[in-house]
Amino acid sequence: MILFRNVTKVYSTGSRALDGVNLQIDDGEFVFLVGPSGSGKSTIIKLLTAELELTSGSIEVNGYKLETIKKRQIPYLRRTVGVIFQDFRLIDNKTVFENVAYGMHVVGASSKEIQERVPYVLELVGLENRGRRLPHELSGGEQQRVAIARALVNNPAMIVADEPTGNLDPQRSYDIMMLLESINALGTTVMVVTHEQELVNRFTKRVIAIKDGKVINDGMDGYYINEET
């Protein structure tokens, strides 16, 4: 569960990226977080993975209170949140299988657990035949699936994706969204950050819209940005 209460983030440059944000995302939900470029979407994600410290307010993520979290607890918080980025962030000289296995390796899984789990997750994202390939031998959509597999491999409570389809064509983007939806159907909370209005409107999901660091809409009525506000 994610709970933001009156969260403000002011960067050291003085830029007020978030201004009194309140939001709650319950376990098992699928949520789009939308808004124009520079509205504060990435800041929200960086706050909830404790990559940034909040300026004021309070944030709770999967039971961790981020305003008081200890440095050494942060890795354990991150294990509950699988993160996906626009640029995939795969390790170039590792195969697909190794990239996904790496996600388990760095949290101390045994090789037996890895051998059992990785094929299952690769199948889940539709890459069961791509395990021996290197990332650059795959299409962008496939690379993003590898990143999704790696995010999923430790069975996190939620998946958070920051513009996951920003580098993909519309069909591949749609396929990725379908994949995230099916992952959500298996019980994982999913939050997708995007500014692609059409894509969002092809699904009937909860949409949280932010602009200038404020939540301006939150509901099931599709992508909604009132340009006048």
Binding site: T49, P75, Y76, R78, I91, V106, V107, G108
Partner: protein
Amino acid sequence: MFTHGFMSFAAVCVTVACLVIIGGFSLIIYNLSLFVSDMEQQNRVMVYVDETYDTGAAKSVGSKINLVDNVREAVFMSREEAVERFVKDQGANETFSGINPSDLRDRFIVTLEDNSKMEETVEQIRAIEGVAHISDRPEIAEGIVTIQRVLNIVSIGIIIVLLVVSLFMISNTIKLAMYDRRDEIAIMKMIGATNRFIRFPYFVEGFLIGAISGAAAFFMEWGLYDLLANRIMRMQSMQLLTIAPFREVLLPMVLTFGVAGLFVGMFGSVMSIRKFLDV
């Protein structure tokens, strides 16, 4: 590991060079201290007692000498013993065979605690009633002690500088290795790897650089030392300088190189890792 093969190699080379020089200074200091303690024994002060004192009175002068602060011991030698020693030393030399005990004075062979205070101590002994004459060679003793002191200070300075150089070298190597893999480190952090887990390979790399350098430097030092010691011993036919065999300092040297190598290796990597992970 050793992603930066060349950098790691350079770090090992520089660290070895630093450690060899550090070891060299330690060995020079050690040999000099042996030499000084040798000199100390040769450099005893001879205190002669007024010849009008009989043996009993002369011995009582000794107890006064013993009261002087810097005196370790004052060993009495009567005029008879002195003659005996003198004759023995001169061997069959006829010129001295007719020497009489009454021609000589009773004396004390005085050893000092601290050679550097010799002049003061000699003055104090001279002031004692019944002391007729003192033969000493304070210039030599003080000269050597001064050399030793200067060398100690210089060596400590050089050792510190070289340790810092090695530390810097290793820490930079590790920093570069981490910088090279910053994307991978960012990914590890994102996935939830602990800092300890991320640090470990870099710590091992620093440790290995230190350990390899320490071992290599130790054997190089041994070889160089034996070579130089042989040369020096052969050069001077008089054998004025005795040089301690390396075996005598084997254990302390193993410890020195081991501790110094591991210290710069581990501390160097910890230094750069700290900086890097806190960004």
